[in-house]
Symmetry: C2
Subunit: 351 residues, 2 copies
DNA sequence: TTGAAAGCGCTAACAA
DNA sequence: TTGTTAGCGCTTTCAA
């Protein structure tokens, strides 16, 4: 690897001149020299040493994409297409802006902070943060942050609005819409399936409850299909969930992935969807689109969410103040075939 | 951010001592000093500046994970669960070994090389490389490389064995097994679906051809279901493929993702799987597992593939010579419900 | 057992 | 328009 110093020596110039040409500061350099240097750089295939540059400039051109892993949540976080499509959107945007993405997955905020300051990361995209996680990061990290799907505990010590940009959905309303839809189809025994009751899923849980309450349907804890992972595996969990579903006519699932997995477990035990059980998902990703029956679900665009987060971050890095600190993307219900209207006769009954 | 120099000043010691303690070279330092320094480091929450360290040590602790994007192949490469699960496996392994992952996606080998040397990446995992791509990287990059699913053109100029470790499957045999299975079920009009005929897919194509030939079934170019992307979208492509499928009794798809998408397009136009069309996939990922009907497919473990690649690389970085330069993972046919035995009567005919 | 100092490759303030 | 030089934070050789 040839260095600027060596180039300067070989051309009989100073490192400043070379550096200026490299950075296109041609106002400072005569046209002739510029040309000579430029040619030479090409010839020797000069590649800058980014560690040196970062050290000198006290920055890194790295965007840290941090996913907080939680217990019971993900084994391989990329299995959920919502996550992986989002990452795809982020990566593309970062790359196109000349930055680099460093992915970091951990369940330990302290460790995350250490990583971030070790690398002197220029900006942060945070995902899957709970409670005061995002605030803890904010307290220690003083460069631009964009969160995705983060609900901050406003009661937390010193929590303030506008500490970072957050991109999300009206999850409460989305879940309400989904549940409301089931109710309108005549369902009253409606479960809700999730692996947690925090953050996004808590908001969705609340929307679900609101819809029930509004229609005078009572809620009991038994309505909550709480998914557990056993030795990293979800299969056993879904078998239980499918059994439990026999007492319900519909289940609202907090993700498409889980909805499809539930349907699958149901089929395996002879519970037909939508004839015996109606299912609604959330996300509208490839799983929902390709499932049989097609999944009725709440649509959101994961790739766009990631892409938007990254592009807002890029703007902040370019010095622009974000227009808003709270972006709420649109959602909408997509009707497919996984919900049955309870009033309707079953195919079997029509025969 | 406190620096070693500042710490040294405050403690009235030299930077060497501090550095030695940080690196656990306690043989060089008295127990007492070690303890004092250690406590102080904790107190001030010292975090090393990795750019400086990398510059001084001429390394980076970064593993470059490079995906070559090709035209017509991926829009968002993470949409294919095979890819995203593999990345998940890689990431985990890298992280657990104290390295960092930098993902880089590009269709331009020169650009990739630039990136890699700019960051002074310590090791490389290459995916989706074609023809002499991997060799071109090898020529310019002289640190450990592990390839995944790479077929090197042995005729290429100067191509030699054992230039890097490659992890793959016997794709030819896998495709052969899949096709053979269809033939044994009585099929003779068997198509093959893919978006290319290079690398992995070419090997699979060959296996498919071998199985046909062995059974005296003629192949014509019309058997090749060549998937195209129109404006980044595959839907239109699959509509064509589904129409085309009417003239066949079975299709072997080069990925589960495509198999499921094909089934979906078929259902939409009243072509039933497996009654009207049998489908076999390749990968056995979540899509295949959750599809209806369950997909008969060639199993491989994407996460393990990634994880293995990373761990071999880690070993190489630790100075161990790899035991073999050509790892061929096992595959096996998983029977589910997407294939019909042609001799059997259709359900409709039994009535 | 500890310290001084050079050097990794680059940037940028300042001088010429 | 070009050059000199200090310095970014850390490692490491060599001397004390």
């Amino acid at each position: 690897m040839i260095t600027i110093k060596e180039i300067a020596e070989q051309l009989g110039m100073s490192t400043t001149t070379i550096s200026n040409v490299i950075h296109g500061k041609t106002g400072e350099v005569s046209g002739e020299t510029t040309e000579r240097v430029r040619k030479f750089l090409e010839e020797v295939e000069y590649v800058p040493n980014i560690s040196a540059r970062n050290l000198a400039q006290n920055r890194s051109k790295i965007i840290g994409v941090v996913l907080k892993a939680w217990e019971n949540k993900y084994d391989n976080i990329f299995q959920d297409p919502f996550v992986s499509e989002m990452i795809g959107g982020i990566e593309k945007q970062i790359r196109e802006n000349g930055y680099f993405m460093m992915l970091y997955i951990s369940d330990d905020i302290a460790e995350i902070l250490k990583h971030v300051s070790t690398w002197n990361v220029d900006g942060l995209i945070l995902f899957c943060m709970l409670d005061d996680d995002a605030l803890r990061v904010r307290r220690k990290y003083h460069k631009p942050i964009v969160c995705i799907d983060t609900y901050v505990d406003r009661d937390a010590d010193g929590a303030e609005e506008d500490e970072f940009v957050n991109i999300g959905l009206d999850d409460e309303q989305g879940a309400y819409d989904a549940t409301r839809y089931l109710i309108e189809k005549g369902h009253r025994k409606i479960g809700i399936l999730s692996d947690n009751q925090m953050g996004v899923d808590l908001a969705r849980f609340r929307g679900y409850r609101r819809a029930l309450k509004e229609s005078g349907i009572e809620y009991s804890d038994r309505n909550f299909f709480h998914l557990h992972r056993e030795e990293g595996d979800l299969r056993a969990g879904f078998e239980k969930m499918a059994e439990k579903a026999r007492k319900f006519t519909a289940v609202f699932c907090c993700s498409d992935l889980y909805a499809v997995m539930l349907m699958n477990a149901c089929f395996a035990r002879g519970i037909r969807v939508p004839e015996d059980l109606s299912v609604v998902g959330f996300d509208d990703n490839l799983f929902g689109k390709l499932s049989r029956p097609g999944l009725t679900t709440i649509h959101q665009n994961a790739e766009h969410k990631g892409s938007l987060a990254a592009s807002i971050l890029m703007n902040m890095l370019a010095g622009k103040e974000p227009e808003t600190h709270r972006v709420i993307l649109r959602h909408e219900l997509v009707e497919r075939e996984s919900v049955r209207a309870l009033g309707d006769l079953l195919p079997a009954e029509t025969r």
